[in-house]
Each structure stands twice: as C-alpha cells, then as structure tokens.
C-alpha cells in the first residue's frame, strides 16, 4: 500500500511538468474555452449590459442598453439604464432626446447633453426613472446612466 501511494505521488508530481507546459503553451485555447464553456461575461453593472436598441440620427446613433437590476439572486429594487451617443466627431453640440428604454412606445425620460463638456440634465417622464447617475466620455461616444426603480419589485 505504501509503495502504491509512493508511485501515485511521484506520478502525480511528474505529471505536473507537462501540465505546466500545456497550460502555458495552450493559453489562447484555454482562455477561449473558459469563456465559451462557462458563458461568463463581465458584470452588466460595469459594462452597462448589451445594447437593446439603436436609434439612428443624422450621422450619429443612440444606443440604448438593457436596464440593469442584477442582484446575486433575483433583482434589486434599484438599477440603471445606460444610453450612449456616438461617434463623438458626428455629435451635435447638444443632444436633446426623449428616450424610451423599455420600448413600450412611451418616452421614459428626456436628456439634454452638452457634448463638449459632458454636462447633462435629465427629466424623468415616468415614475420609474429616478435621477441622472452620471455622464462618461468613452473612446468613441458619450455615455449616460439613469438610475431606475425596478418596476418588477
């Protein structure tokens, strides 16, 4: 029994050498396998979640993301929705737009964005829109996040 344990131990230790080599040389494949196999994505609290709808304007577009209420289990009482306007060079000096983020045909809030300074004002048009969380200048767009109350909670 002791001999068997020793053989197993040495074998296991020796196998770690090819494991090290395989991990390092196969990095690219392992990475892709990890992502595709697990379906992992970066949390929407950081990414703003996927773009649900795009509204085309003259030279630029408005990208409305899916609202984010993600909790560990279920949903939170408050979340946000991110809206982007880009590309930067095609934006007018001021963007004044009513946004319908839930695609129910009714505008949910109105945003006026100064694309030079990033100053914005948000006017809620429904009870679920709370306030402006912030504006952010991305590489090729201006982004805005509006705090929302979860209609499902």
């Amino acid at each position: 029994m002791q001999k068997l344990k020793a053989i197993l131990g040495y074998t296991w230790a020796a196998l770690l050498i090819p494991l090290a080599v395989a991990t390092l040389f196969g990095m690219g494949s392992w990475m892709k396998l990890l992502v595709s196999g697990t379906g992992l994505t970066v949390s929407p609290w950081f990414t703003g979640d996927v773009v649900a709808r795009t509204v085309k304007h003259d030279g630029y577009e408005t990208r409305i993301h899916r609202p984010v209420f993600q909790a560990l289990i279920g949903e939170r009482r408050e979340g946000f929705v991110q809206v982007d306007w880009g590309p930067l060079e095609a934006l007018p000096a001021q963007v004044d737009e009513e946004v319908d983020f839930d695609d129910d045909g009714q505008a949910d809030f109105r945003v006026v964005l100064d694309t030079a300074s990033g100053q914005a004002t948000l006017t809620p048009l429904t009870e679920y829109v709370l306030n402006l969380a912030g504006t952010f200048r991305l590489d090729d767009a201006w982004a805005m996040r509006a705090t929302l109350r979860n209609p499902r909670r």
């Binding site: 040495y10 296991w12 080599v21 990095m27 994505t41 970066v42 950081f46 993600q70």
Partner: protein, 389 residues
Amino acid sequence: MTAQTETKPRKPGLGVLKSLLLLLPIMLLSFLFLAGGPPREDPLPFIAGIVTWLALNILFFLMLYTGKTYRYRRVLFVALALTLIITFAASILGTRGSLALTDADVLQGKTPFCFLVIPTIIIPALFTRTIIFPGSLLTGFAPIASMLVLWAGATLLVGRGWCSWLCFYGGLDEGFSRILKKPVIKSIDRRWTYLPWAVLLGVVLLSAVTLSPAYCEWLCPFKAVTESAAITSTLILIQTIIFVTLFVGLVVVLPMLTKRRTQCALFCPLGPLQSLANKINVFDVRIDPEKCSRCKLCIRSCPTLSLDEASLESGRTLMSCTKCGQCVDACPRKAISFHIKGTKVGISADAARVLFLYPTFIFFAAFGGSIISSAILTVLKLVTTGSMY
C-alpha cells in the same frame, strides 16, 4: 525529546553534471517563452529577453547545484514584484495615458485583472455567470480569462506555493523584510494569523451582496503602487488613504520591523484560498521528528509564521506554508525537506525538491520571466530613446 541519532550530514545539492543536465530542459523552455518570435531590427527586445533568460537559468542552476532554495528564489521573487510595477505602469500609461482609473475606463473594461480579486468573484460568478470586475475577458493587458487560466494552472501546480513563487506582489513585503539585520519586533501574536481568513470571509460576503470587488475597492494595499481611482470625491480620497496606509504599514514598515511577510501572512485574503487549494496539491514541506533537535530555528525564520511547536511534533507545517524553502535551508540538521504526498518523509528529499522546482520554475520562467523581460525592455527604451515605447 526524542533520542538524537548522529547522522552524517547530507551533502547539499546535486553535482555539476546533474545540475546542468536538469537545467537543459529549463533553458530550452524558457528560451521558447522569452524569445518572442523571430529576430527583429530593434535589438532591445532581444537584449531584454537574453538578460532575463540568463538570470533565470543561472539562478535555477544555483538552486540545483547548491541545494539551497530560499536565497535564489527570493532574488527572483523580489525582482518579479519590482519589475511588475514598471511593466504595469508602462502598459497602463501606454493604453490609457494615466495610472488613475476613471469611470469611463471602468465602463470600457480597461482595468487589468489581478489575482487578488479571485476570491471575491467566485460566488457572484456561480450565481450570475458574470465576473464582477471591470476588465476585458479576452483582450487588452491582463485580460480576465488569461489571468484565471494562469491562476488555475498555477494553483494546481503549487497550491499555496503561489504566495512565494508566482504572486507578483509578495516580493515587495519579502524585500522589505530583508532590509534590517535583526527584527525590532521579535514576536507576533499568533492570533493575527487568522485575520486573512476573516478578511476573506468579509470581502467574499460583501462582494456577493454588492456585486462589486470589495477588496479592490477598500482594502488592497497594492493600489498604492499600481492604479487606483482618480480622486474625484471624498469617498475615493478615503479609499486612497486606506490603500496607502495599508501599503506603508503592512508591506513596508511591519515587514522591516518584524522581518516577516506581514501582508502575506496576516492580511491577504488570497492566501487562505490558496491554503484550501493546497489540500489537493501533491507537494508539501515536512519535518522529520527523529532528526529534529528542537532548536526552533525554523520557527524563528519562517517568513509567514507557518511553523510552531506543534509542527515540530507532528512533522507538518501549518496550512499557511508557502513552500518558500527558508526552513529547509535554515535547518542545521536537514530535518526539513520538500515532500511528495504519499511518500516517506526524508526519503528522496532531493527528488521531491527537484520535482517541485521543475513545474514551478517553468511557470515562473514564462509568467514571471515575461514581466521581468518587459520591465528591462521598458528601462532600456527609456534610457536609450527617452521614451518607454
């Protein structure tokens, strides 16, 4: 006290020939990792790669030949930490133009992933299938997927040995712990060694509730030397003060005064996770109670407080042992050795040590070597052209 048997001290290390033979595969593999493609016009990357390759292989040869692990590992480990700061700064400044992290950077996934986040992302990933870190999965500097694969592979290879061989921060407090000749604070209350478990529990719970990386946001000392949020509010100012205070206290001052790795042993939450993972690692460090003379030199010298009186009786280190080799080298009676689980203690200690060093060093050469080489290249470019790029 057990009867002392007079044993002829084992000649440390392998002979020159054996050491060179064992070095050859490492030389080849490290060359493949560091060569970085066919020769280019610019000789600087080649010079940086060759310098790194030479340093790695000389140190590995010395480890094999002298039979000493700790002092050569320490050189590499401290070098890794210092060069990480340079490489990190250069990469971030190149891609973002500033070390300060802005909200826009967060939204665009421009934050490089760090291993210290790993404990906090596990529960949210299991429940929501999302990574609660504002990085990029597959692209950019230190993408999430690559760091996770590296960590998983390294953990399978070395378990808690991560903390002394592959963690690119550990070399900082290890370096500071070697500055003074003697400790000013001679003893540390052992209860503090439980703090990392509490930090782990706290940050895991907080991160699960808030779905944000609590350790990065509040407690990481290394934010002081890498990147942190641009100070645009009082909250961020408070967080920055916490980071700097923890860095100065745990990474600089306390290691100097105690000559122990206080950040690693008494605070870092990744350590306990690695300790748990260590249960499935084949390597550990064992003490032969029959050879041990109870001089307690090992207890006094262990940088992570992983040995105590009970260890000498049981022949096992505590679960926080990072396999740094300090006790193995320090023991005057060669009673402590690297060990492969399932085998008899003290038998074929050299074989166990070599089998541990091999995959560990392969990993270090690729992972750490690339960081060291990149830093050398950055310095060379700065010196020769005045620009890091």
